[in-house]
């Protein structure tokens, strides 16, 4: 039994490793590669290719837990790297471009949800999924294309910072609403409870810096790693048990560390663990995806792809203008923000875990299809942005 499980995990990890290597070779984001690996060797269609059975890995408890840790540590690092200084230092401009980005893209998401006659809660999930750009894919592409050294990286990173804090709040609200039962008062009560808990966490994060500093002053990297993994998982688990978003709890644990001198060490020591957990998370998303469901959301998918690509390009271009950039660079800001990724999938995982019917099946399938296309499309657009900016410049 244990042997069988070990073999399955071995197949899964090897699949992830191969997919990652392949993505690196062709210069694309690893996220869609991990998802595709999951779809390919998972229990759903396609189950065989040319008569060779492909169902090599089932969605078991081990993968479930590691994937959950993936969400926790993605959000933990989001909190850790969340730059309060950057946000405050440039607050007027970041607030402006963040608002433009939110109004255009979240608005488009709401429009899509209602146009395809989803319920309010379902629409809120869809809006969140199409709204938020992928920090992981965008920052990596920024570096790969050398844009990080250009002026357009300012508004791009500014928008990401704004989105990061908004998604933390949004996750808290949405998980409270999704888990909080039907009525408005019940939902309001659970939103209140969520914010009380998170408020307490935020206070600890804010005032506990000195204690945290001392508590995590381990001499060996091994002990340091274990402490960080232990505390983060413990807090996230406690939050989940209390009916709150484990992701948001992890985000606040991350912010608690961001004010200490441990940040650099965490980046060194804990990042590999995060990368591992996150890879399994994306893979698990693939495992649970039934791509036959994509046929049912094909029109929504097409509409979302077109509308939200245009939406990000437009809102990004406006943001570039707020930063006083020229036409080409402003357009690049828009193109740079097109990739969607990990946070859309975190929202999809929340939807899958909280509801039934549409929330459990249709929305996650939509999110997977959407992220697959948008993470690849975004990267390719950035690599070939000259073609686009030249053409628009000649208008």
């Amino acid at each position: 039994m244990a042997g069988e499980l070990l073999l399955e995990i071995g197949i899964a990890l090897t699949g992830i490793a191969l997919a990652g290597a392949l993505a690196y070779r062709v210069g694309l984001s690893v996220i869609p590669a991990y998802i595709l690996a999951g779809i390919l060797i998972g229990p759903n269609e396609p189950t065989s290719v040319a008569g060779i059975p492909l169902t090599l890995v089932d969605y078991g408890e081990f993968i479930d837990v590691v994937a959950e840790l993936g969400i926790v540590f993605l959000l933990f690092f989001l909190g850790l790297e969340f730059s309060v200084g950057q946000l405050l230092g440039d607050r007027t401009r970041i607030a402006k471009i963040g608002s433009v980005d939110f109004v255009v893209n979240f608005g488009l998401g709401l429009g899509l949800g209602f146009a395809f006659s989803f319920t309010v809660v379902q629409t809120l999930f869809i809006a969140g999924i199409v709204y938020i750009s992928s920090s992981a894919v965008v920052t990596k592409s920024l570096i790969d294309n050398g844009w990080v050294a250009n002026a357009e990286s300012g508004p791009i990173l500014g928008t990401l910072v704004f989105e990061d804090i908004l998604i933390a709040v949004y996750l808290a609200v949405l998980s409270a609403v999704a888990f909080g039962g039907g009525s408005v008062t019940e939902a309001a009560a659970s939103v209140g409870a969520a914010f009380a808990f998170l408020g307490a966490l935020a206070l600890v994060a804010w005032y506990g810096t000195a204690h945290i500093e001392r508590l995590f002053d381990a001499t060996s990297d091994e002990l340091f790693l274990l402490r960080i993994l232990g505390v983060t998982t413990l807090v996230a688990g406690a939050a989940l048990t209390a009916g709150l978003s484990e992701a948001v709890a992890a985000f606040f644990v991350g912010t608690a560390f961001s004010a200490t001198s441990h940040t650099e060490r965490i980046e060194h020591v804990v990042s590999p663990a995060r990368d591992f957990f996150a890879a399994v998370f994306f893979f698990a998303i693939g495992l649970t995806t039934d791509i036959t469901l994509l046929a049912g959301v094909a029109w929504l998918l097409v509409a979302a792809l077109v509308a939200t690509t245009v939406g990000k390009v437009v809102s990004g271009t406006l943001s570039g203008r707020v930063y006083g950039l020229d036409a080409t660079r402003s357009l690049r800001v828009g193109i740079g923000l097109v990739p969607r990724g990990e946070f859309s999938l975190v929202l999809a995982a929340l939807a899958a875990g909280s509801g039934s019917g549409v929330l459990q099946n249709v929305i996650p399938a939509f999110a997977v299809g959407y992220v697959l296309v948008m993470s690849i499309l975004g990267t390719v657009l950035m690599q070939n942005s000259e073609v686009i900016t030249d053409r628009i410049g000649n208008w």
Binding site: Q86, T139, I143, A149, L157, S271, D326
Partner: protein
């Protein structure tokens, strides 16, 4: 010179150094220690990646740039501020009146106020030279004193004896 620092979430820190005109040098320090250096020729131009280095290599390059391995000395323009005092390097010409005198005989401190803190003779450096050291032609005398004292010292050595140490004002040899 202004240096702009920005955090790049998930990546590290970015520093922009202003060069001449609109040119900027951009250094990206990744959390894993890797450094990347970009050059942006002008405000509206695209940055070009010049090179990337590991943390260790970057530190070596940094030390080289800092002058830890080789420090060019601009002999015409050397001044190190020490409160009121400055240090000057003065080469003793063959015709200088003090050639052949010991430091005691030349009585430099009594006559000018500067202290000879070292003598460079070819490859050799005589630090804190004793009074009975003889001054030879071609010696480089390192003297400590105020501007006025240095002036008097140069006059003592005679105009033709001051191959170096012109005492140029306003130089920024301190940055060299």
């Amino acid at each position: 010179m202004t240096i702009y620092e920005t955090e790049v979430p998930g990546v590290g820190h970015k520093f922009e150094l202003e060069l001449d005109g609109d040119e900027r040098l951009i250094v990206l320090i990744h959390h894993d220690g890797k450094r990347e250096v970009y050059l942006r020729p002008g405000e509206n131009e695209d940055s070009e990646k010049l090179f990337g280095l590991t943390g260790k290599r970057a530190r070596q390059l940094g030390s080289i740039l800092e002058g830890a391995y080789f420090q060019p000395v601009e002999m015409d323009d050397i001044q190190v501020p020490l409160g009121e005092s400055i240090i000057e390097w003065v080469e003793i010409g063959a015709d200088s009146p003090v050639v052949g005198d010991t430091l005691q005989e030349a009585s430099i401190r009594n006559r000018t106020g500067v202290s000879v803190v070292a003598i460079q003779r070819g490859e050799e450096t005589i630090a804190n030279p004793r009074p009975d050291v003889t001054i030879e032609a071609g010696d480089m005398l390192v003297s400590l004193g105020t501007r006025e004292e240095q002036q008097a010292f140069e006059e003592l050595l005679g105009e033709e004896g001051t191959a170096g140490g012109g005492g140029v004002e306003g130089g920024d040899a301190g940055d060299a």
